[in-house]
Symmetry: D2
Subunit: 321 residues, 4 copies
């Protein structure tokens, strides 16, 4: 299989607007055909300013221009139109040997509740499938490596949304289910879709409560994706499929609105694809759905609603028409 490689454009070549938004006026850095597999180099959320020996504070002190959560893109997908769906299979995620975690003030508000002083940036080694988290007293804890793409999205119809923000277009959803083996579906809103991605995490807790997960240094971080196009298949919000589950991903504030939207999207999925009556879907999810709080730290909060495939009806629905 021939894999097209898409390099990061050096950030200083592009404006802040072009690096740090997903929008219709951003000029593509590459064009691909539906069905292609691409390998994409990705930035971390700090645009490579945080690394061993340099914390976010150091970077700011040195007057380094901070590109907040830049993405690699936009990637133009030939033939993609508003009303289509981009189908993105995550094939591989390549990680460096080190990750960082740094609490940002007032992200989840928990720091305010705790009256926490400004905390240090933690660097953790990543090796043999484990992240080695070192406590202040020297003890270590091993956390399994479960890599995910934190930010992946297409252009909205006419806004240019900051890459720090999640939404209907994808973006900074920080969903652990955007991982190797799973397939993400994004609603296309403009010609060419204009896909951008970045912000790989080696692992992430539900809620991502301090504002960062195990962020990975961007020098060697890259992902391989197979990108296909489903014509004329309207979606309102991103969806994910894994071997075992179907999932909807919605972002809003307050958090219950994100949850309500995600359950509502899952109901609509059961109606259109599995022949449920609306009420059946409503009551059934009340006894069978699962949910994940992806994050409560970005400008909108993200919830994933899930249904195990084994709880989908086994009998076919004969066309409702």
């Amino acid at each position: 299989m021939l894999i097209r490689r898409i390099r990061k454009t050096p950030l200083e070549r592009l404006s802040l607007a072009r690096n740090c938004t997903l929008g219709p006026l951003n000029k593509p850095i590459a064009t691909i055909k539906p069905g292609e597999t691409v390998e994409v180099e990705t930035w971390d959320a700090s645009a490579n300013t945080v690394k061993p020996g340099q914390t976010p504070k150091d970077a700011r002190r040195k007057g380094v221009q901070i590109y907040e959560n830049p993405v690699t893109g936009p990637i133009h997908v030939e033939g993609a139109q508003s009303g289509d769906v981009l189908k993105i299979e995550v094939i591989t995620i390549t990680l460096p040997r080190i990750g960082w975690t740094s609490a940002r003030t007032r992200f989840s508000e928990i720091d305010g509740w705790l009256q926490l002083p400004s905390p240090p940036t933690k660097f953790s080694r990543i090796r043999k499938g484990k992240i080695v988290y070192v406590l202040s007293d020297g003890r270590t804890i091993e956390v399994p490596v479960e890599p995910l793409i934190g930010t992946i999205g297409v252009s909205p119809a006419y806004e240019a949304i900051a890459t720090i923000t999640p939404g209907r277009h994808g973006g900074n959803m920080d969903v652990p289910d955007v991982c190797v083996g799973n397939t993400l579906y994004l609603p296309v809103a403009v010609e060419g879709a204009l896909l951008g991605l970045g912000d790989v995490h080696a692992a992430q807790g539900d809620g991502e409560i301090c504002g960062t997960a195990v962020e990975v240094c961007s020098m060697v971080s890259k992902v391989t994706l197979k990108i296909e196009l489903e014509k004329h298949k309207k979606l309102d919000w991103p969806r994910i499929e894994s071997k075992d589950e179907i999932m909807t991903v919605c972002s809003a504030r307050p958090l219950e609105d994100a949850a309500r939207l995600a359950f509502l999207e899952l109901m609509k999925w059961l109606e259109t694809d599995y022949g449920f009556e609306r009420y059946d879907a409503y009551a059934f999810l009340s006894i069978a759905a699962r949910a994940r709080i992806a994050q409560i730290v970005n400008p909108l909060f993200t919830v994933v609603a899930k249904l195990p495939r084994k709880m989908l009806p086994r009998t076919e629905v004969i066309s409702k028409a």
Copy 2:
């Protein structure tokens, strides 16, 4: 082992206040010693007014007095004082062969968003570890039986809180982790603790979005609990331990406040019992915590924050004092 049986008091013998609140002025129906195992008969959320052939609407039409989510109790635990913790191990949950699910208007607001008409009550058979959910078109789906105690709590310090409401005292948390094999910890606020419980579900989806789960007819529903007392161990909110996880349970609105509180309680747990510095706990949970949206339909919403035991530090902390 001698097991003490605690029967439900017929509802008409008690006032609404005594059946449907947890509070310090409610007179105990039984007194037990710490360490005892008890078998408690429980009411369902409809106080047995919903059963095959009778829906909530029918019950209301007949003018039946509705006791909303009554509990069996209060059970006085000898020696329990404010500042102690009640440790409750769930040994067994006995289910009837039928359960019901009924959407309530404006519970999760999703019905308003959907402009859903008044939906029917669903009855589902429960057999051989499966709940058989029947769709409107006759197809069936099997959902695994995973029974839980929806409502279990002690008396607050001076309020009498409706049994429909969750809080620091426990109450209507609707948490699937209050299940057989797990241990629940509740902060005692008044002499004797004054435990009450009910509202067993045969299974429940995260969010419990239509307002009910698989509610079980109360005629044959009962639970066996081992109840112990931990003296002088102050808790601010309920906690749960399973074989694999430690968990905190908090209830608030909006949902992010419930999540923030639950993560904060988990941080405090790591600090006091596992020797974490505050900041270490904060950043560590950001990469390792798990969370469950228990319900978004009761007067306060409930989130469970979790940490896998295998991610707790293996080295002992030498006393911090």
Copy 3:
């Protein structure tokens, strides 16, 4: 006019439950007839533990039992039944010459956002219709005295709700419109209504953001009320009438839910009393309503929705039946 005087019961004579909840099991301290005018002595929110020379911190240090926001009551109103409405006209509010303001941690969360250190308690003189607020640098600001009853409510149907909490039953609404000259309507839920009140403020900002207003020392604080009964006039939430406005008062979290409920109640009022079609009421309030954020610091937040009387239709509606 003969005015009945209702004294505060010394707090130590009653349990915490009886002083600090509104509930059906609390025994009346007085019984009045509908139409009577009563003069009621009131406690402040600190139960008289804060006074010149003693801050809340001092009181706690001395081990003084803190009764949080105690009320004077319950007052039994003869003939009041569930389904009736208590009509309470505020005739006078008598203030002492000094008030206090003290920030409480994590009340409005603004302190967390600001990382504010524990702040001092402020005492302000009240004289000639002015509150003299003294800044740390010695400058003074005069704030007009606009006294209000912060907490006034009846017993809920079966819960005993803490007097710190507002709700459908009234309670700690902290609404500046509960002031001299205005009339408050509360839905009766139990026999005798069981009215309680306290927590007079000499003035209050919208939001009451630090958790207290100009609280008044309880030694000399009292209010005169004319209390009437409107039979068979169901209300879902408290209402207020002034010479110039009609108002609804709702409490919930998040704050938009309190606002939605208050606007909804105002729509219902226009429908039932002024012959509006539902849609007319909806669109009309969108162009004409006023609202007040009463407080964002109590367990539920309170919004007042208002309509100027001069915007009520002048033509009579002939009975819709």
Copy 4:
């Protein structure tokens, strides 16, 4: 005084992105000097598709391209840089003789709570300072004309934010205090500021609960503004000054976050310009602030926090440095 006239560009000449966002990549339609007075023609929120004889539904049925809440702009202000403040005095607002009000589904959620059917669009005559609102039964109500500019904002630093959304940059704040005689301050984020405005309302209720106010047909709607530049005066959010009050305007979800931010900005104002200690500002606003719920229907909700000028300290502060 020479007044520069700025005409609306016909919408079909510009892309959706250029008509309906405020962003750094939108090309200016005019350039002005600081100190100039400009008269700007404005679009209504429906881009002139709603008019007597045509409702929003009609427009959609005819396949008219809907430009949602387009603005006139961007207007480039010479010399404006990030870190400056744009000072905008509203001199006049010219209204047509007719306005419209149309409920949009799921805007404030109140329609969902009410299960309201799709409601009609209302047209109201505007004459002699009164809006004549006609009820379904033919009765009329007069609402005073109090015109305001619903949408006015500058470009964000790098995002292109939809003109339907409010934020730190201004935008669709729907604040009745942006009215004739008052002065609005907006933080400049990009060179030239790139001001845009539109969405004039003849009057608006607090909350704007049905999603529209008295929207005015855009054919004859225009505003006159005096625009000045304050160099090197960093603001975080919009502010307003009237003859009698100082005001801060913040937008967020949930609504309490908008309120917290607005009160916080007002505290910062008291600290920097009036010599308050932080704690003094906090406690003082708790007894003296006023607040307005501007709207609860846009993508973020807007609160205005206010302090009467007569409650500002009269003594000068000698420089704190």
